[in-house]
Amino acid sequence: MPAITPIVMPKWGLSMKEGIVNQWLVDEGAEIRVGQPIMEVETDKITGDVEAGDAGLLRRKIAAPGQTLPVKALLGVMAPPEVPDADIDRFVAGYVVPVESGENEEAAASAYQFVDVGGIRVRYARKGDAIPVVLLIHGFGGDLDNWLFNLDALSEQSTVVALDLPGHGQSDRTLPGLGLVELARFVTRFLDAVDIPSAHLVGHSLGGAIAAQMALDSPDCVQSLALIGSAGLGDEIDTGYTEGFVAAQSRRDLKPLVERLFARPDLVTRQLLDDILKYKRLDGVSELLSELGGTLFSQGKQLEQPGRRLGETGKRVLVVWGAEDRIIPAKHAAHAPPSATTRIIEGAGHMVQMEKAGEVNAALKRHIAG
């Protein structure tokens, strides 16, 4: 019997319990490709696109715009044309949303782990158990939740580790030093602390510059590099953003700045801003970010550009950029080594890995698989 394939509410990040259906992006009767955005869903953190995990013919839309549905609720049904409507009716009627057991909740809680790296406590998440290992490094002022839409997808074929850089997220508010060399050395020590001899590095923004520096300084622990909206490849950067982000004390100050990170500013929810403010208001964070930002970026310039020397390393490099990146211009992709693969993604800004997660995940998977 031909298979009926359910489309269900995804779980983005560890804390997501439900999502609000904003709108369908495809019609019944459409042929759907893997990775195609099929529906827009709003969570308390951010609005994102549900991307098809399987290919097929969309036979039935179940979820209606405006509905709030739990994770794994049935959103729609795909089936080949020969499946009778009655079978689909039966499937829909018989579908039960799997209940998250207490065990799963415990698993979610323990998915965040902490490790001591040279006296600095670092929070990280680890998912999947396949070889190879992928390390995700977020950018300036960010945290591991910047990989909300990437972590699960990448863990299908690899072990994914994402850390909060020192001074960021829920890691200790202490920096191991201010330059890229010190930060790269710290991340290398982190890999050692979690028993990972080498990994494919995926860096966003400042995280990309750190990854590039690691490839130069500790080539043995770097299998390949994927640089997303990366710092360290050219000299321009919107220091109005970095300085404004540090200075912003209220939601009102912060909102226009965070909106600059996205091609579609309406993706920025109040919860996302509140979470950033909660981090920024912790004692010591403003001073630390101000010092770090001031050391790395000044008057519209990036002071260190290790990405331009990646040709020396012989590592495989993937460069991904949102075409509408207003923080670091996409034209910096041209400074990657000539052998690098470059993907410029239309309709996305600096947070391209969130805005166009499906395309970024597909590019990363291909790159990691080699």
Binding site: R123, Q170, R270, R281, L282, D283
Partner: protein
């Protein structure tokens, strides 16, 4: 790292972390040290409801037990604040504040102005507010409007553990006198609170629920009643926005107006008595500044203009509830100008 703790523990942690950070922070109050070392008590009582429990053992020379004379020790705290300390005075119930109005209204609130800006008075007076504790007319009042009326005082009233910690830390670091109002019925309420110290600026409201049909503007325990009302209304398809003012002075009127400009309707909810209340103040300011945005009459939900009754049945009726709030939202919706 965040974990779930109660408002009472969040306040205790804020005091502990500020005392550890700044040796000029001292804590004064009735029965905060009493009981230390006595049989059956391994520690000082930590005040009438034990909010400062454990601090005396850590900072024995910076917790001061005071005589049962609010006028004396609140005056002493204000004087100490002018001479370089950052005192946090615990005044059991806001109802007792009347005996030290001169110290608060005429001295603390005025020093900065009367000494040409040269004097600063970084004092915090922590005090319990609100009804629901079966403590009758003299221990249950919501007197926030009285203090909000006085220029020179800041007035804070948190509704969650996260806000309680961050707002108290900011109040201690603030260089002006702050009346920090703790709702006694909320002490046990738990929520996520980071372990690390953090400060939330005074004068920033929180939009605790977003919606398009009607704005409910409130503070303190009424935030929770309003959220209950909003949840019930959501089932009927009415989509309320709930604004928690958090601090009453300074007041974040911009957030209130932004909300009303979006929804066109306003319900002000206040546990205080109605005359000259926070609800009345917000109503007047919105009517003046955002009249064109209003699509219906402003509704107020407050306690009645009576003292808090001792009868439990009457006290429950006295405190505004989710049902009354939902009814007010319905009135605002049906009174709509199209």
């Amino acid at each position: 790292m965040a974990r779930k703790i109660s408002i009472k523990d969040a306040i205790n942690e804020a005091l502990d972390q500020e005392m550890a950070r700044d040796p000029s922070v001292i804590v004064m109050g009735e029965d905060i040290v009493g009981g230390a070392g006595s049989p059956g008590e391994r520690d000082a009582w930590g005040g009438v409801l034990g909010v400062t429990k454990g601090l005396y053992a850590k900072y024995p020379d910076r917790l001061l037990d005071t005589p049962l004379s609010e006028s004396a020790y609140v005056g002493a705290a204000i004087g100490a604040a002018c001479s370089g300390m950052r005192p946090v005075a615990e005044l059991m119930f806001i109802d007792f504040m009347g005996v030290c109005f001169d110290q608060i209204f005429n001295q603390a609130a005025k020093f900065k102005y009367m000494f040409g800006g040269k004097a600063e008075t970084p004092v915090v007076i922590r005090t319990m507010v609100g009804a629901g504790f079966r403590a009758a007319a003299q221990h249950s009042q919501m007197l926030t409007p009285i203090f909000t009326h006085i220029p020179g005082l800041k007035v804070v009233c948190p509704s969650t553990p996260y806000d309680a910690k961050g707002l108290l830390i900011q109040s201690i670091r603030d260089n002006d006198p702050v009346i920090f109002c703790e709702h006694k019925a909320l002490y046990g309420l738990e929520g996520d609170v980071p372990e690390a110290p953090y400060a939330i600026p005074l004068g920033e409201a929180a939009v605790v629920r977003e919606g398009r049909s009607c704005s409910i503007v409130t503070y303190g325990m009424m935030v929770h009643r309003s959220m209950d009302a909003a949840a019930a209304l959501a089932k009927e398809g009415v989509d309320c926005e709930v604004v928690d003012l958090r601090s009453l002075s300074p007041l974040d009127l911009d957030t209130v107006i932004e909300s009303v400009e979006k929804t066109g309707r306003l319900v002000c909810v206040d546990e205080a008595n109605p005359r000259c209340s926070i609800a009345a103040d917000i109503s007047a300011q919105v009517a003046q500044r955002a009249f064109p945005a209003l699509r219906a009459q402003i509704e107020m939900v407050t306690a009645p203009h009576t003292p808090v009754p001792f009868s439990p049945v009457l006290e429950d009726l006295y405190i505004p509830g989710a049902k009354q709030i939902a009814e007010a939202v319905h009135r605002a919706l049906s009174g709509a100008r199209s």
